[in-house]
């Protein structure tokens, strides 16, 4: 890794333009050098100082004090963040959190992406994925858990950006602590030099100030000396009343480059010194099949074509340009192996779900959660009702096409790609090429959207195999059709629910049975509602299309199942949907407050004119409670979405503008799926191919969205990227029911009004 050639080193200034940084870039070009001081030591027990030091501190005069902060000679503070930037704004807000605890001058704060290296594993993120229930473990237990989870995170390659976790895990547990620890060490160093008591030293705008003696100095002056200070493992963090940057809508640091066009995404990769070739691919149309043979007689006569390969799990043409490659690959006839899956159509898939649900019946299946005695309470209930809901498969459809640039040589592989999981990608490439992970270097620039799609890294090893096989540096780009039809998907599912109300209209029994349970494990449990008897059961069924987490994952369908059924229960009980829910939220005051507020700002009591109605839903996901009201106008016979109000309680919102943007994005993503999202199967292959038949909600179809925030305070901070999504679909279908009396139990909506 360190035996780089001078030629490689000279390429590095270009790579550093994004203020992102690879180990080689740093060492070679001195991006962080030039008199700068790197501060880098683990602030958490279990963060291996010894492992990190040689990797991040390259040049003279650089020392490590903690692994997330750098203060250079110009007094610029750099936050080194272990998350990808895919439009969610996490980089910027993590910088804000660090800078606030450090009392840094925000105009002199930069954000840099940590290299894809195991030492930057986000153990808190891993913990959220692996065992959410430990998050509020007592402080004394933290080191043990941290050690454990760091091990597990390593094993699972968890340098992950997902789970709406950047702010609530890395921000809260790494950035703030790092900033506070660094500030304390700077004060300690200045106090020794000035021979004063450290408590008399104030910090503000990256300056150390001692009023009594009139002394002051920029942080950079004591940055080296600070490295000699003892580091406080549990520095005192600021109280909310002391925040200067947290809770403020600071402009995002990544926006200017995205406006002026200088931002580089994975697909922009143009490493200097590499004479790139381009690959276009065909993947198996039916999952699990492989290419037995190909007829490339036309392709091999076509312009620009260099190599044509049957890689078994895909076909590729490598050519002088992407256009040449795609034109040529389009002419190849492939014979695929026989699919093992018996499923040819969506009807087959839903029949397979139904068979499992029938088998589980009223009491079978694996119990995910439950209390009381649902069967006997249902028997005695004043009124019972049931419903069956169906959701389709969904594609992620990120705007930036899937792509990966790979170069193989000298026993190493270098990769440039947009990924949410750089370390997992590294492991996949190492495995595919039979290399050690140390010999795989991953550069991961901005992501042009991901929504979960880039949690899978199969495309990365595909490009690596092509680079190895051809001997050329290869930029592989999937066509939109390939990504729509041959990727990973949000699962389809069928959910059967039963409920019973007592004589006074209270929901006393709730039973739910479905076939898919992925993540988060508690998404299927309506825990906020006080229902005496519940049973939540899974009758596992195989999926024809491979699963990958899709924005909000299980909440995306469970939110719709649960909140649709609660609405049906309200109707069965003859109650107002808001009042009915409030009646069950006695033990969930934050949820009740959010619901009351959304009723207030949406003027819920005003039922509107004929054909015009509102629907409500509330879902807690990724630590954030979101209550939404959607107003729909049905006068044309088709749903027109007029207004959406959302009230969110994330405990504390670090950057209100960024948070609102994420909630609005989640709502639009959720409404898009609810209105149009759905994949059909023919002969086991996906029918939809591109945006003409896999539609997005257009600007003129988006309702007017108003987002209100509640900072309820002393609770763990919640996420932003996903929680806006789950309530959107049920609020919409509940509004359509209120307007028309038609209860929608299948998605998407639009085709039911065609």
């Amino acid at each position: 890794m360190n035996d780089m050639t001078p030629e490689t080193a000279s390429q590095n200034p270009k790579r550093s333009r994004l203020a992102k940084w690879s180990r080689r870039g740093f060492i070679g070009a001195g991006v962080l050098a030039g008199g700068g001081l790197l501060i880098g030591i683990g602030v958490r027990p279990g963060n291996p100082i010894g492992d990190l030091a040689p990797k991040v501190a390259g040049g003279d005069g650089e020392e490590l004090i903690n692994s997330w902060v750098k203060i250079d000679a110009d007094n610029i503070v750099t936050a080194i963040v272990p998350h990808c930037e895919m439009g969610q704004g996490a980089h910027s807000v993590l910088g804000q959190m660090l800078a606030d605890e450090l009392d840094a001058d925000w105009s002199k704060v930069r954000v840099m992406q940590a290299p894809a290296d195991g030492s930057y594993v986000v153990s808190d993120t891993a913990r959220m994925f692996i065992a959410p229930f430990t998050l509020n473990a007592a402080d004394w237990i933290e080191p043990t858990y941290d050690g454990l989870f760091k091990q597990m995170a390593h094993a699972a390659d968890a340098l992950i950006t997902g789970g709406s976790s950047s702010i609530r895990s890395t921000g809260q547990y790494s950035m703030r602590i790092a900033g506070a620890a660094a500030r304390k060490m700077l004060k300690g160093a200045a106090a020794e030099s000035w021979e004063v008591d450290p408590v008399e030293i104030e910090t503000r705008d990256s300056m150390l100030i001692h009023k009594a003696s009139g002394k002051s100095a920029p942080y950079s002056e004591f940055a080296s000396a600070a490295a000699e200070q003892d580091m406080d493992q549990t520095p005192t963090l600021k109280k909310a009343s002391e925040f200067r940057l947290m809770g403020k809508s600071k402009p995002r640091t990544d926006i200017p480059a995205k406006i002026n066009g200088t931002a580089e995404f994975g697909i922009d990769a143009a490493p200097e010194g590499l004479n790139l070739t381009y690959a276009a691919v065909i993947r198996p149309p039916v999952p699990g099949t492989t290419a037995l043979s190909m007829d490339a007689s036309k392709a091999k006569t076509m312009r620009g074509v260099l190599k044509i390969l049957n890689m078994e799990n895909f076909i590729a043409v490598v050519a002088e340009s992407y256009w040449h490659a795609q034109q040529a690959v389009n002419t190849i006839e492939v014979e695929w192996s026989e699919p093992e899956s018996p499923i040819k159509t969506m009807q087959d898939q839903f029949d397979a779900f139904a068979a499992k649900l029938d088998e589980a019946g009223d009491t079978g299946g694996l119990e995910a959660a439950g209390k009381g005695d649902v069967p006997s309470v249902l028997d005695d209930a004043a009124k019972t009702f049931d419903a069956e809901y169906k959701v389709p498969y969904l594609a992620h459809a990120p705007m930036e096409p899937l792509n990966c640039t790979a170069s193989v040589g000298d026993g190493q592989c270098e990769i440039w790609t947009s990924t949410q999981v750089p370390l997992m990608a590294r492991s996949e490439v190492a495995s595919a090429l039979d290399l050690s992970t140390d010999d795989v270097i991953i550069h991961h620039p901005f992501l042009g959207g991901a929504f979960g799609r880039r949690l899978a890294a199969e495309y990365v090893s595909m490009a690596a195999r092509l680079a190895k096989e051809t001997g050329y540096p290869v930029k592989m780009i999937w066509s939109r059709e390939e990504d729509t039809q041959k990727a990973f998907y949000r699962n389809a599912d069928t959910c059967r629910m039963r409920g019973g109300v007592d004589g006074v209209g209270k929901l006393v029994a709730f039973d739910s049975l479905f076939t898919q349970r992925h993540d988060p494990a508690q998404a299927c449990v309506p825990a906020m509602y006080d229902i005496a008897n519940t049973s939540i059961r899974v009758a596992e069924a195989d999926l024809h299309l491979p699963f990958q987490a899709w924005r909000s994952v299980d909440h995306s369908h469970q939110g719709w199942f649960i909140e649709s059924f609660i609405d049906e229960a309200a109707h069965a009980a003859g109650a107002d949907p808001v009042e009915f829910r409030l009646g069950m939220l006695g033990k969930s005051p934050r949820h009740a407050a959010a619901l009351k507020k959304v009723a207030e700002i949406s003027n819920w009591g005003d039922k509107g004119g004929k054909g015009n109605a509102k629907g409500v839903a509330i879902v807690e996901s990724f630590g954030t409670i979101v209550a939404e009201v959607i107003e729909v106008d049905m006068r044309s016979g088709k749903p027109k979405l007029t207004n959406c109000w959302a009230v969110c309680d994330a405990g504390f919102v670090m950057n209100p503008d960024g948070f609102r943007n994420q909630i609005e994005g989640g709502i639009i993503f959720g409404l898009t799926a609810a209105m149009y999202g759905g994949l059909d199967l023919k002969d086991g292959a996906i029918v939809q191919s591109n945006f003409h038949d896999y539609k997005m909600l257009r600007m003129n179809e988006v309702p007017d969205i108003k987002v209100a925030l509640i900072n309820s305070g002393d609770v763990p901070v919640g996420g932003a990227g996903e929680p806006g999504l789950p309530p959107a679909a049920p609020a919409l279908t509940n509004a359509i029911f209120a307007a028309t009396g038609k209860r929608l139990r299948e998605l998407p909506i639009a085709k039911q009004f065609a």
């Binding site: 312009r303 260099l306 390969l309 890689m311 495995s431 195999r465 993540d519």
Partner: protein
């Protein structure tokens, strides 16, 4: 009880994401067509029509200033019908720069290629300040098209 279920379910997700490695797949067939820089341009026997079509399509940009019809008057730039084999700066109905009339060029593949790649750099003082064709393949196609017009 629930602890185990939750842990197992979540680990599945991580494991799922981690699998799908392509280490198990083999290269079943590999056709070597060309090395970089040596790839086919579409061929002259079967692809001649293609390159002319590509040249005509690319000439759409040029036609903002240049007519390519036999007998049409020159516009902002000289008429290019018959330009192949013609002496530079030789049409009567166009007022050329001194640089062009004095260039001594007779237009052929090589001179057109050099000029179209960088007009102002190739004939310093030319009036043609826009319209460079940076892509070699596109130049080749446009030149083939121009050549076809002179027959």
């Amino acid at each position: 009880m629930h602890y185990k279920t939750i842990l197992a379910a979540s680990l599945t997700t991580l494991a799922l994401a981690a699998c799908g490695s392509s280490g198990d797949y083999e290269v079943k067939e590999k056709i070597d067509v060309a090395e970089p820089g040596q790839a086919s341009d579409g061929g002259s026997s079967s692809g001649g029509g293609d390159i002319l079509a590509a040249g005509e399509a690319a000439f759409a940009v040029c036609s903002g200033c240049h007519s390519a019809d036999n007998g049409s008057p020159s516009q902002a730039g000289p008429n290019l019908y018959g330009v192949f084999g013609r002496k530079a700066g030789s049409l009567d109905d166009f007022s050329y720069s001194e640089a062009m009339t004095g260039s001594g060029i007779t237009w052929d593949e090589a001179s057109l290629d050099a000029y179209l790649a960088d007009p102002a750099g190739n004939v310093e003082g030319t009036q043609m300040v826009a319209g460079a064709i940076p892509d070699a393949d596109t130049r080749k196609a446009v030149i083939a098209y121009l050549k076809s017009l002179s027959e």
